[in-house]
């Protein structure tokens, strides 16, 4: 099975699936929270490189991780957003809450 979460130093890297909806957000939530409980994590990084679709369920997963890590002084970030995902981020106000890394083309 493909790895969805991976610890790199104190960064918890999350490979977001091709489609992030209510159906598959549970698996991410569980895998991420298990790691957060077991390891000292400074940053949760959502990687959208392979993601084509996201709805408001995705917002819930990201905000949920933000709430969990915020009390330990950690941060949440995202990378490799395509135009569509960026639009969803902007519309939901997520861009004010989390750091977005601009990748080079």
């Amino acid at each position: 099975m493909e790895e969805i979460v991976k610890l790199e130093g104190d960064v918890l890297w999350i490979q977001v699936p091709r489609e992030l909806d209510h159906h598959n957000c549970g698996a991410i939530r569980e895998a991420a929270d298990q790691m957060l409980l077991q390891h000292p994590v400074r940053e949760v990084l959502f990687d959208f490189a392979g993601t084509e679709f996201m709805d408001s369920s995705g917002i819930g997963v990201i905000v949920g991780r933000y709430k969990n890590i915020k009390c330990f002084g950690g941060m949440v970030s995202a990378i490799h957003l395509n135009e569509r995902i960026r639009k969803i981020f902007l519309l939901s106000g997520l861009t004010k809450m989390i750091t977005i890394y601009e990748q080079e083309a």
């Binding site: 909806d21 209510h22 159906h23 408001s56 917002i59 969803i88």
Partner: protein, 145 residues
């Protein structure tokens, strides 16, 4: 006049969120939409169907009905459940309002439907169910070179 109609009935299980939005996207493809328009429609369908699954039928697997019609360049959608209904529609439509914070719902579902479709209208009766009506006029084809 161009006219086309379809109706699907499916179970309120989360696997069907993907099925529903792809089915509508395929149906709407005859209107020659842009990629952005297709994504807008898929997101709106996903939100409405997810609402029916989570809020309409929180305790059991029941039926959801999805209807789509094309009239000229306009797509009309209906997502219907016979579930628990919405007590206060205005409240439910407020951005960030959710009755299910335990499921980490963001409360953005209706806001997304409003943002991505031209018009949305909800009819609901407590203990009888909810129907979400949406429409969007597709301009897409003109952008082709």
């Amino acid at each position: 006049m161009r006219e086309n109609n379809m109706k699907i009935e499916f179970d309120s299980v989360s696997e069907n969120e993907g099925f529903a939005r792809v089915a509508v996207a395929a149906f709407a493809s005859n209107l020659n939409p842009t990629l952005e328009e297709i994504e807008d429609i898929k997101t709106a369908v996903s939100e409405a169907v997810t609402n029916a699954i989570i809020h309409g039928y929180p305790y059991s697997v029941e039926k959801i009905w999805l209807e789509a019609s094309i009239r000229e360049q306009t797509l009309f959608l209906q997502v219907k459940d016979n579930g628990c209904g919405i007590e206060n529609i205005a409240k439910a439509m407020e951005p960030m309002y959710t009755t299910r914070p335990d499921l980490e719902r963001s409360g953005m579902g209706f806001a997304f439907m409003e943002a991505f479709m031209d018009d949305i209208h909800i009819e609901s009766q407590v203990n009888h169910g909810t129907t979400v009506f949406m429409k969007k006029t597709i301009c897409g084809g003109e952008e082709q070179e």
